[in-house]
């Protein structure tokens, strides 16, 4: 019974923390983008516009909810729900703080502490593309959502493979699918980024593609298909898509830090003055900032370029890298 109660408590905590994070991410994104473009950004509501996201949320509650007459109604309702649910589900197994040893055992800061955590994240990130695909279908033959949804489908299928292949290297080196054990393996070694620079880079690139952020934001490319899959959505339902995207960004940054950058362990020279929790969130915050940074500075790739990068460059490189890792581990090369 205790495990159920603790699960519920963690579940509610996760929902609250992630929702607040998403609220203030919109503020952060706008501020950083404004700074990059020599503007001020939100300034009027609250201190430096900090209450702007709250005002936006309240406003979006009162917006008229328009459903196109030719749409499939049930699917039109379900599509944003699927997107947000699967994005949150992916966040369930991500630890949000280092585990604490208590008298009765180890306390884990993830909603569900399972051994196959890595696979769980893959599974639900893969499912999150359905929300987008169904948004395109349910919009009732509207052209832009349809194009956006097709792009999302193709992009997700191709880049999930590269994501999985590049994460296979840390999995092979730590011989575990559990995030906490992967981090533990990195305390014995150096961080995996020093052994696996190639996997780190392929993961970095496919991270942007899977979360459909700027260099690869083809499903919603504002300037060509004017927001793609959620053109027909309005009000709160429309807001759920960027919401889910921010959650995916958080999950991807956390996986990146856990798998390649040693999770809550500080660099070897830090000597343990700063607690692990703070190291962990500094690193995650850096990658979240990286997404915004890329948004402000990168142009969008063309669709054929996206597919070429994925299938002709990243896929062969990651497969060769796995062969190299396997060889290095079996041959017992130094430092492996």
């Amino acid at each position: 019974m205790m495990i159920v109660i603790w699960g519920l408590v963690k579940f509610v905590a996760l929902m609250l923390i992630v929702s607040v994070y998403v609220l203030f991410m919109t503020w952060f994104d706008r501020k950083v983008l404004a700074r990059m473009q020599n503007r001020i950004g939100p300034q009027l509501v609250g201190f430096h516009g900090l209450l702007q996201p709250l005002a936006d949320t309240i406003k979006s509650f009162w917006k008229e909810d328009i459903i196109p007459t030719r749409s499939y109604r049930v699917m039109f309702w379900l599509a944003p729900i699927i997107t947000i649910t699967t994005a949150f589900a992916a966040a369930f197994v991500v630890p949000f703080a280092p585990p604490i040893k208590t008298a009765s055992g180890v306390f884990h800061f993830s909603v569900a502490h399972i051994n196959e955590a890595m696979l769980f994240v893959f599974a639900f990130l893969g499912l999150s593309s359905f929300g987008v695909l169904y948004a395109g279908i349910a919009s009732g033959g509207s052209k832009y959502p349809f194009i956006g949804a097709q792009r999302e489908g193709a992009q997700m299928v191709s880049y999930e493979i590269i994501l999985a292949l590049s994460l296979l290297n840390p999995i092979l080196m730590s011989q575990s699918l559990n995030f906490e054990q992967i981090v533990a393996a990195q305390t014995h070694h150096l961080w995996f980024v020093f052994y696996q620079p190639v996997a780190f880079l392929t993961f970095l690139i496919s991270m942007f593609a899977v979360s459909a952020k700027v260099p690869f934001d083809l499903p919603e490319a504002e300037s060509e298909i004017c927001c793609g899959h959620f053109v027909e959505y309005s009000g709160l339902k429309m807001g759920l898509y960027p919401f889910a995207q921010y959650v995916v960004v958080l999950v991807m940054s956390a996986i990146m830090v856990l798998a390649f950058l040693g999770g809550w362990t500080g660099p070897f020279w830090s000597g343990g003055f700063i607690p692990g929790l703070i190291w962990y969130w500094i690193k995650i915050a850096f990658f979240i900032f990286l997404f915004t940074w890329a948004w402000g500075t990168f142009p969008r790739y063309r669709y054929d370029q996206l597919m070429d990068i994925g299938w002709k460059v990243l896929l062969p490189i990651s497969v060769l890298n796995i062969f190299w890792t396997g060889f290095a581990l079996t041959a017992g090369l130094p430092f492996f």
Binding site: M75, L78, N115, G126, L127, L133, I137, F146, G153, L177
Partner: protein, 170 residues
């Protein structure tokens, strides 16, 4: 508790499968199919096989269902909407399904399946990911490699069949 979970999951699985067959719209049919896959993976979790459960979602719901949906998106929407719900061979399918159901019921009656044991985990405890790897790559390495080659042949064959011969086309 466990039994309730089991019945909920089986309801999701069977309901999803039923919805796949009788949904009028091909797109919602695909959504029902994904629901059914999720139910099956939940059943695997109850059997203490989380690895296979996750693979079920990744491979079937994540990859195959996306491909099916993708193919449907490339087809004309009006053609898909005006399709009949069943094709003319549905009678044979119904007979076969009824036979299978009768068979399973007969087996259940013969072995006196105890409903009160529903959902109880009767397998070995603990993580089976390592076990699956050991069995697959130590004992059954040769069949595994054969399956990989068969899949590769199918892949190459599909490309050869679907590729236009450029000289003939133009």
């Amino acid at each position: 508790m466990v039994a309730i979970m089991f019945f909920i999951l089986s309801l999701i699985t069977i309901g999803g499968a039923l919805g796949t067959v009788i949904a009028r719209n091909a797109y919602s049919s695909a959504l029902w199919m994904i629901t059914s896959f999720l139910g099956v993976s939940g059943l695997f979790v109850m059997l203490n096989a989380p690895f296979i459960a996750m693979l079920q979602i990744i491979v079937y719901a994540g990859a195959i269902a996306v491909l099916i949906l993708f193919v449907m998106m490339l087809m004309d929407r009006r053609v898909l909407e005006n399709k009949d719900r069943f094709n003319p061979q549905y009678l044979w399918g119904a007979i076969f399904g009824a036979g299978l159901l009768a068979d399973l019921l007969a087996l259940a009656l013969k072995f006196k399946i105890d409903i009160s044991q529903a959902g109880k985990n009767l397998t070995i405890n603990g993580s089976n990911t390592k076990m699956v790897g050991d069995v697959l790559f130590k004992h059954y390495l040769f069949p595994f490699e054969m399956v990989a080659i068969v899949l590769l042949v199918a892949l190459v064959g599909a490309i050869v069949l679907s590729k236009d011969d450029e000289k003939e086309a133009r």
